[in-house]
């Protein structure tokens, strides 16, 4: 089935014929007995990896296995924030690689992922914040990543609903602004990659959970046992977010991961009022406005590890307290929905995109609370790693062995809570 190209002309032509000849955007594939490569996890990261395997490395005999429906995990549960203003050189290179791919992603996929570089502003509330953020601004600029310091008045000019009066428990003392940061439409990222990968021959197999990983006498990955039968695979890339420990446990691989619920919520939709993304690490708030008009608000992780995809209400209340202080005009907004996703957190809050001790088995995990922004970049270098059996220079530092060797990329200390 050939891909139907989307364009203004195609839209007009089909409008004249009642929109009756649009086809499904990808096939509902049934598993074949064997593939050259199988990706476990049908989120943006996994679908993107399959797409880049096919497009950049010519490996088209690929399947993506998803235990539920594609984009139904953290891809569909995050607050869609995109930025690359990370402190360390390794992180800046990785996340900025991703931002650069975001900038042209809609054109590349012929699918509107609604990337909107509306600016991400991180608020400083304490002297420590000011010092840390200014350090970030300088470090980012050395790495070619845009980031600038704003005084409170400049921050308010950039985001008019912001309260910069001195009547807050933690007043706004300034902000760091990355203008190239912003948001994108999370579902469209999964769908766009799925459609483009499918057009290149990738099978997208939903309702297919991995139950076992078979290895040959030499220890190499041989096949996956799934709820839809045994699927032979020369290479297996696992991109399963909060469930990564469980999947890799099937091959006896231990990882420095813990899975926590992370919650988010949206308000009722209102007219455009909020022009950018605002984050506050110190009082813990993340907010932007979707194109539907909902305020999209990110809360924190729950205290305990869990796989329940829900969390406690007091976590959301805590964030709303901060939102109401920062933006008093939102005090009477009603919240419409809240939900949780399960995020896999590493001790240094940096991801793992690497080979594993098992030949033919690769892993892209540990994105913790901030994986959405990295979707294109992570997928791109993960596909490289799978195709060439060696890391791309950008993900070379993001190994499992860094925890043994002490080469942590400690964004935990650099960013405190926020990602």
């Amino acid at each position: 089935m050939s891909k139907q190209t989307f364009s203004g002309l195609a839209l007009i032509r089909r409008a004249l014929t009642g929109h009756r000849d649009w086809r499904p955007q990808w096939r509902k594939a049934a598993p074949k007995p064997a593939y050259d490569a199988v990706i476990v996890g049908g989120g943006g990261h996994g679908l993107g990896a399959a797409y880049y395997l096919a497009r950049e490395h010519g490996i088209t005999n690929v399947a993506v296995l998803e235990k539920g429906w594609i984009g139904g995990g953290n891809t569909g549960r995050n607050t869609t924030i995109i930025r690359s203003n990370y402190l360390f050189d390794e992180s800046a290179a990785l996340y900025d690689h991703s931002v650069k791919l975001w900038e042209n992603l809609s054109q590349e996929l012929n699918y509107n992922v609604m990337f909107s570089p509306r600016g991400v502003m991180m608020l400083a509330h304490t002297v420590h914040d000011i010092q840390v953020f200014k350090r970030h601004v300088h470090a980012n600029r050395c790495n070619g990543v845009d980031n600038e310091w704003l005084e409170p008045e400049e921050a308010k000019a950039f985001c008019p609903p912001l309260n910069i009066e001195g009547n807050m428990r933690y007043p706004v003392l300034g902000a760091a602004l990355q203008r190239r940061g912003g948001t994108a439409r999370h579902d469209a990222v999964a769908w766009g990659y799925a459609r483009a990968a499918d057009a290149l021959g990738v099978d997208i197999i939903e309702n297919c959970e991995v139950l076992g990983i078979r290895r040959d006498a030499a220890g190499r990955v041989e096949a996956l046992e799934t709820t839809r039968g045994v699927i032979r695979a020369g290479r297996v890339g696992v991109s399963a977010a909060g469930n990564t420990s469980a999947v890799l446990g099937l091959a006896g691989v231990r990882l420095p991961l813990e899975s926590y619920p992370l919650q988010a919520l949206v308000s009722e939709p209102v007219k455009p009022i909020f022009p950018c993304v605002v984050m506050s690490n110190t009082i813990h708030a993340y907010i932007s406005q979707s194109d539907k008009g909902e305020l999209v608000i990110g809360a924190g992780t729950d205290a305990y590890t869990s796989y329940t995809q829900r969390g406690a209400l007091h976590i959301n209340t805590h964030t709303l307290d901060a939102i109401c202080e920062l933006f008093p005009t939102f005090r009477r907004m009603r919240m419409m929905r809240n939900w949780g996703g399960i995020v896999d957190v590493t001790p240094d809050r940096s991801p793992i995109i690497a080979k594993t001790p098992v030949p033919g088995l690769y892993v892209n995990c540990g994105w913790g609370t901030g994986g959405f922004k990295a979707t294109p970049g992570a997928a791109h270098v993960f596909a490289w790693t799978i195709a060439r059996d060696e890391p791309h220079p950008i993900n070379a530092p993001f190994t499992i062995e860094r925890f043994r060797d002490g080469h942590l990329i400690d964004e935990a200390a650099a960013a405190a809570v926020a990602h």
Partner: protein, 102 residues
């Protein structure tokens, strides 16, 4: 919000507690005798159990004491709470993540 039974104070709301991670991790008696891999195992590797998980909690805004709990991470239901130093009540009930049992 979880309702957590402190072994000293009884049922209390979750906001009175802090979480202490995987329980029964014992600091190696002679760290300098370990190689890097063994030390990394102790510092960083966790079972991340999908199922019944033995974990530490502290009744920080109550009696202040640490205790251990068994909780099913797929439902968040507590199976038991018990005092530090006590053995895990029913190890047979646990289904550790495959391949990660130690």
């Amino acid at each position: 919000m979880l309702l957590i039974s402190c072994p000293y104070c009884g049922d209390r709301p979750e906001i009175e507690f802090t979480y202490g991670g995987q329980a029964h991790l014992v600091r190696p008696a002679d760290p300098s005798a370990l190689d890097d891999q063994q030390w990394a195992e102790y510092l960083y590797m966790r079972t991340n159990t999908k199922g019944v998980h033995a974990e530490r909690w502290r009744h920080a805004r109550g009696c202040g004491r640490f205790f251990n709990a068994l909780r099913d991470t797929t439902t968040d239901r507590f199976a038991a709470t018990y005092k530090i130093g006590a053995a895990r009540p029913d190890p047979a009930a646990s289904e550790p993540t495959p391949g990660t049992a130690r």
